[in-house]
Symmetry: C2
Subunit: 467 residues, 2 copies
């Protein structure tokens, strides 16, 4: 029988039983106690080490539960048989990532992504959070409906109906943590055998995600009404991903006729679908909002995807699908197992935000704010020398500019860069590498009004010189 030679220290942070357990474990691991060897009884061990019997018992129980020793009735404790031992030391070669962003020498950034966060309704959000996190809201801490909370889906339906002409019932809504996740979920419902046609220039992130999900993605070029129908027809695609209300980045609003052509294309085959990405239709500065494509769909062919990333904040991580009837069944079969990815308290806060009219007020405030920024930028650009064409304005938070001279996008971007301004060449949004006339994208959401004025003036000068 193996004898325990351990010197217990009384002032260590560890309990006595832990010291005994760790000592014996170490001895076993290092092979100093051989397998099959019998350990002293708890009574004997307690005597040897001058500890209580229950301390010895606890040490053995830990070794038992981790499988180092086993208890044989009426015989005692024995060291288990085990093969060559793994060691805890681990290869720590995994390199630590850098967390800092590289600081750029950029004074003004005309990024078309990003939103104005100076006017986020922090106080209201705090108030709602206080209300939702009360003890009497206990049911909110249980797991909720996989589709998302019914009350929030109802609020979304009613918003979509009024603001976007979307015809949907709460049962058709599936809430998820961001568009990427919803694309993933959608791929479970649709399968990944279909070819997906994407607009080019277009939204590269959605294209990348579909590719990562295993889809065969093809690109279809844009004419002035949107996705080119002839090319779509010849592409062999069965799913078309479009942004009819305000195409990103071209800013095109798809006219009724092209919408009908698209719907007819979809109606021609049972498995065809249109994915309508309605990412920033809330912001339209002239006239009424353009109704959604989904609202004109009588054949249950449009899968509508909406988000609160642009209208509230991207960090909220709440998007939603509006599924056509045919896919609802598929959702029940394959999608319902996946638990909802948005916390119930966040859902409840958004629901109250919508129900109590805060969302509408926030949208109106932001629309006015973005319209001002839009108007300032547009006014400045119209004074600028050498501009040939401005388009994609009146909606969203970016517009596009073409210069009259023959400079390339790179030359224009370089000129701007030297003046401390970042602008975005359209060709970067081309998904098929095809080039077009040099066009620069200017986003204005993240800059303050004064900054837009300064930046546009500076930009004008930087582009002027070379003409």
């Amino acid at each position: 029988m193996y004898e325990i030679m351990l010197c217990l220290s009384g002032d260590e942070k560890k309990n006595l039983y832990e010291q005994i357990y760790e000592y014996i474990r170490g001895e076993i691991r290092q092979g100093r106690i051989r397998c099959g060897e019998r350990l002293p009884s708890t009574r004997l061990l307690a005597e040897q080490l001058d500890v209580s019997r229950s301390t010895a018992q606890m040490a053995y129980e830990q070794l038992l539960s981790e499988g180092y020793i086993e208890a044989v009735p009426c015989k005692g404790y024995f060291v288990c048989e085990m093969d060559e031992l793994y060691h805890l030391e681990q290869d720590l070669s995994v390199s630590e990532e850098r967390t800092e962003e590289k600081a750029e020498n950029c004074r003004y950034d005309f990024t078309p992504n990003g939103i104005d966060l100076d006017h986020f309704p922090y106080a209201i959000w705090r108030k709602l959070s206080r209300e939702v996190l009360k003890d009497d809201q206990k049911e909110l801490f249980h797991l909720g409906d996989p589709k998302g909370e019914y009350a929030l889906r109802k609020a979304i339906c009613s918003y979509l109906h009024q603001a976007r002409g979307v015809n949907a019932q709460p049962s058709q809504i599936v809430i998820g943590a961001g568009n990427d996740y919803l694309q993933m979920l959608l791929s479970r419902m649709l399968g990944t055998k279909q070819r997906i046609a994407m607009e080019s220039p277009g939204y590269r992130h959605a294209y990348d995600i579909f590719q990562r999900l295993g889809y065969d993605c093809c690109t279809v070029s844009m004419d002035r009404s949107g996705m080119n129908m002839k090319e779509l027809g010849e592409s062999g695609a069965d799913i078309a991903y479009v942004m009819p209300s305000h195409q990103y980045p071209m800013g095109i609003v798809m006219p009724v006729r092209r919408r009908q052509e698209l719907l007819q294309w979809a109606a021609m085959k049972e498995e065809r679908y249109i994915i309508e990405d309605d990412y920033d239709s809330e912001f339209r500065y002239v006239g009424k909002p353009i109704p959604s494509l989904q609202g004109s769909d009588t054949c249950q062919k449009v899968i509508y995807i909406g988000t609160f990333s642009k209208s509230i904040t991207p960090s909220l991580r709440i998007s939603y699908l509006v599924l056509p009837a045919g896919l609802l069944e598929r959702y029940e079969q394959v999608g319902r197992s996946f638990s909802c990815t948005v916390s119930r308290t966040d859902q409840k806060m958004l629901q109250l935000f919508m129900e109590r009219g805060y969302f509408e007020r926030h949208l109106n405030k932001m629309r006015a704010l973005y319209r001002n920024k839009h108007d300032i930028l547009l006014a400045q650009l119209k004074q600028m020398q050498g501009i040939k064409k401005i388009f994609g304005e009146r909606s969203g938070v970016h517009l596009l500019v073409q210069m009259a001279d023959k400079r390339t996008e790179k030359e224009l971007a370089d000129c701007a860069w030297k003046a401390g301004i970042r602008v975005y060449p359209l060709s970067e949004y081309s998904l098929n590498g095809s080039s077009c006339e040099a066009t620069m994208i200017l986003g204005y959401a993240t800059m303050k009004e004064g900054e837009i004025r300064e930046a546009a003036e500076l930009l004008g000068k930087s582009w002027e010189k070379k003409i």
Copy 2:
């Protein structure tokens, strides 16, 4: 030229321009204005309808932007050509779901899922939320790191190291909205060609999710040390999904030897991985926590998946992966595109909750609480007549009971049900339909201590009668 015959009403809610726009749109849709037809100029229209010229202009612009009409320079406005029109009326046959749960005649529910929410730290959570939702935390409202916030990943690492013996750096952690989502993300990194071996009886939800994700899942039966290695070897699987710290539902703690065998099995082929689901290891009532399998893995073979669903609340929707080095590269290639599914404010709240010691205190409180419930149930069961064996106790929030007589699980469940008690037959957790000795699962997290006492007593009586 088409003449507009419209009677404008001044007291309607709609603007004049909207009334004009809607009227003309209706005329076009119903074919009363033919395609190619010229509309009156804005000057003429304004005169005809006695409105301002800008009102007429706005109505036309809306029609232009939606593609109903087009402007031909120096000629005027013409109705666009369009095919047979779709109508907005939609088939509203999608049936509305029922939102109420069916009320069950069940007084006591020994569910092994669910947690005790009476002791959720609502006040602290509210305090943190107030702090996080301040205006000066603006950066929290931008989109964050796809892996999750660095500071939270660091807090998780340090917790995992101390409490679970997990060796990881923050770069190895990927935060996501729940295990289902993380399984989905993992499937992007691993591909779906492998066969996955699952423990049976086991965690059916994870099994279903893997199947939905397109995996070929097989089941391996459990012996008293956990997953049967011989069966695993013969299964043809390259991924083993195990719960070594406290198997669900069997309650088995995998002994060191079986852990080593598993690690050796994984080391034999490059593409082999072990997924360690460490779902409720925080709750262990006797001795120290069982260290994680990941901590003994020297070959970068263990993918660790952890969650705050059991330790904080399932509605929080925060889980995480600890990726081995080999998969980190794969993550960079295919996983990084997917934006993080957890909102940054929720991440920040959890980070502060962990950093400031609230999490530790909460765990200690809950452990004591569950231990009490565990002890009460165990004491009651030990007094119960006709019980042959109790196992899976000392950890987690459920235990298992076998009766000495030959009644089937159904008979036992029916007896309990008649007394208003819901218990859970083990065979429901069998993933391969194989049967074993009649065993009932009793979870005790959601009941109050008094209820556990009452329920166990009542259960004893309901099972006694038939012996």
